[in-house]
């Protein structure tokens, strides 16, 4: 059995703000295999982006990985120096951001920004680097690549810019591509183009992809495995099939109920009550219990352990423990 490509273990990331320590990520563990597409889904503030940024170590100045390890091919990259990390970023793992408008530098040409990554990480220089840049643009479906190299970001549309971002991320053929809400800022028809492109490139180049998004629709069509996050923790994980057709955490169930169902369109939606939790003071028990319909006494005081539902599915919810106990012995109430 091969080692996983990336193995995140018990990751804790905090931001130290004026009003106190905000524990954005609270003990997250997951593994990513070669050629796998992993989806991380959650609402804003659930810690999904921070998890991705922690892997790349590109957190804001106030943020810090306070505990946990991230193994890349068996090596712990949290212990790496900044210099080693520079070699890691771009070459081993690269990232595309949500907003292609702000993540490209407006005062440099596309060519300039693309060749920068190439000359930094490979031995291609000058003309060779430029040819490689044009080749990359062609790969992501941009026509007239040599003309585009001379253009500035403002001359391109949103979809085109996101393609340039993808080309830049692929410049050094990384093993892992992290896509942080890659299509949220784009229209549906352009979104479909970009998602298809990511899928195609993933197959051709054999990369592993971590797709961070809040859109369950995007997750459903793209991912092999899904991690559902709430309040900085993983509340459920499993294959796409298990998560969508057999959700075992109350939060996942709630999320799926709150979006219009394709087959029962006119049925009334069942929203999750309340608002997302305040990350400044996390509750002692399950972080979702304040909004949970099925909350029990134990949910308030103790955090649920991750329980294996089957080999492709794990969830952290006391309801599953209760169901298991009931199935086992019958009459012992909680």
């Amino acid at each position: 059995m091969n080692k996983p490509l990336i193995s995140v273990q018990n990751l804790h990331t905090s931001f130290f703000t004026d009003s106190g320590e905000v524990c954005a990520v609270n003990g997250v563990s997951f593994e990513l295999d070669h050629g796998e597409i992993l989806g991380i889904v959650g609402e804003s503030g659930s810690g999904k982006s921070v998890t991705a940024y922690s892997i790349m170590q590109i957190l804001a100045a106030t943020g810090k990985v306070v505990d946990g390890n991230i193994y890349y091919k068996g090596e712990d990259i949290t212990k790496w120096s900044e210099k080693q990390m520079r070699g890691f970023r771009g070459k081993c793992c690269s990232i595309i951001f949500q907003d292609p408008m702000t993540s490209l530098n407006p005062v440099f040409t596309i060519g300039n920004q693309l060749t920068e990554a190439i000359t930094l990480h490979t031995d291609k220089k000058g003309k060779a680097a430029k040819d490689r840049a044009a080749e990359l643009l062609e790969l992501v479906g941009i026509n007239e690549p040599y003309k585009r190299l001379k253009q500035y970001p403002y001359e391109l549309s949103g979809g085109m810019r996101q393609r340039v971002m993808i080309a830049m991320a692929l410049a050094c053929e990384p093993d892992i591509l992290i896509a942080d809400e890659p299509t949220t800022a784009l229209d549906v028809t352009i979104q479909a183009q970009i998602l298809e492109l990511i899928q195609k490139l993933q197959k051709e180049l054999g990369m592993a992809v971590i797709l961070v998004t809040h859109d369950l629709g995007v997750i459903a069509s793209m991912c092999d495995n899904i991690v559902v996050m709430y309040g900085g923790k993983i509340c459920e994980r499993g294959t796409a099939h298990e998560i969508f057709y057999n959700p075992c955490h109350e939060y996942t169930k709630g999320l799926l109920r709150s979006i219009p169902n394709v087959t029962r369109m006119k049925e009334r939606l069942v929203p999750i009550l309340g608002t997302p939790i305040n990350m400044l003071n996390l509750p002692k028990g399950c972080s979702f219990c304040a909004r949970c319909d099925a909350a029990m006494k134990i949910c308030l005081t103790e955090q649920p352990e991750e329980l294996t539902i089957n080999e492709n599915h794990k969830a952290s919810c006391w309801m599953n423990v209760k169901a298991m106990l009931e199935a086992e012995g019958g009459n012992n109430n909680e």
């Binding site: 609402e43 804003s44 549309s157 979809g159 085109m160 229209d187 549906v188 028809t189 352009i190 979104q191 479909a192 183009q193 998602l195 298809e196 809040h214 859109d215 369950l216 629709g217 995007v218 997750i219 459903a220 069509s221 796409a240 099939h241 969508f244 057709y245 709630g254 999320l255 799926l256 109920r257 709150s258 979006i259 219009p260 394709v262 369109m265 006119k266 009334r268 939606l269 069942v270 929203p271 999750i272 009550l273 608002t275 997302p276 909004r291």
Partner: protein, 319 residues
């Protein structure tokens, strides 16, 4: 008396854009749009960014002076002169709950402002009672009245915006992407509230959004816009099960469906390229540059919106 509440006829909204020295080109944001909305009905308006859907909504309320065309509200022509009183019957909820509320006003004043403008109360006590009733409608507590907008979450702010729109007891509300800025779990709360308010007060909505699943859920009929024109309009279920216009077909096939089996098995029609700039509109049918069925006829003339049976309207020569 007919059931038609809002009747829009050949509405045009052109913005002059400076394209050179002493030279302007009209940007045809909305170019000949006609539709009707019945009392207590929801018409969904979908399209990609830049297709003019927001401009339609704003022009209906004369937030922009229309370039051409007429808007009839309850049989009465809406003009520059009577818009002041008309806004007592038609209101708007904006997309961004962060920028559409004045940060220096308390919730009470924000919701009370339409009441002040239209002088809908006789004394302070009545004003206060009305405001509290409105807050109750949208699920806010009375203790929220003295707070400022920044103290609320996105979903709660959108509730304040809705309470403000409801203050004058309107018959018609333009909802401009009211749930796009909200999280999924909060979206469902606000959508349910829109449905409850409609059942209770009988208001009609023009529901503008780019999320087709949400629009399909809330609307009775849906109009699809592309580059300033309505390309297809039909009953919501009819439009989803049997889209006629090639643009609607590709739009529907591009919607990410939160169901792995359906999402992976269906045929996707992926459009090539981007939406053309509205400053350099293609001749004839605006969609022909991205359409797989385009013929010479499409380049020469623009197809008009015609009924293909059962009120299913489509603007395409081929379909």
């Amino acid at each position: 008396m007919s059931d038609v509440l809002v009747d829009v006829r050949d509405l045009k909204q052109h913005f002059p854009i400076r394209t050179g020295f002493m030279k302007t080109t009209p940007l045809k944001a909305v170019d000949g749009v006609s539709f009707t909305i019945n009392k207590g009905e929801t018409l969904g308006l979908v399209g990609e960014s830049g297709c003019g859907k927001t401009t339609v909504g704003r022009t209906l309320l004369h937030l922009y002076e229309p370039t051409a065309g007429e808007i009839y509200f309850d049989g009465e022509l809406v003009t520059k002169k009577n818009i002041g009183t008309m806004r007592k019957k038609m209101q708007m909820v904006f997309q961004d709950p962060y920028s559409s509320l004045d940060p220096r006003m308390t919730v009470e004043d924000i919701i009370g402002e339409p009441l002040d403008v239209h002088k809908l109360y006789s004394n302070k006590k009545e004003r206060r009672e009305k405001i509290l009733e409105l807050m109750n409608y949208v699920g806010l507590n009375s203790e929220h009245a003295t707070r400022y907008a920044h103290e609320f979450s996105g979903g709660q702010r959108q509730r304040i915006g809705i309470a403000r729109a409801l203050a004058v007891d309107p018959q018609f509300i333009v909802c401009d992407e009211p749930v796009s800025a909200l999280d999924v779990s909060i979206q469902a709360q606000v959508i349910n509230m829109f449905e409850d308010l409609q059942a209770k007060l009988g208001v009609a909505y023009l529901f503008i959004a780019h999320d087709l699943l949400v629009v399909h859920h809330i609307s009775k009929r849906i109009a699809v816009m592309y580059l300033g024109k309505i390309v297809e309009m039909a009953d919501a279920d009819d439009l989803n099960n049997n889209p006629l216009h090639p643009y609607t077909q590709s739009l529907l096939s591009a919607v990410p469906i939160p169901d792995p089996d359906i999402a992976r098995s269906r045929q996707r029609i992926i459009l090539e390229g981007d939406v053309p700039s509205p400053l350099r509109m293609p001749t004839g049918c605006p969609f022909r540059t991205r359409c797989q069925y385009a013929t010479e006829q499409c380049a020469a003339e623009c197809p008009s919106l015609t009924d293909r049976g059962n009120g299913h309207m489509s603007a395409c020569f081929n379909k």
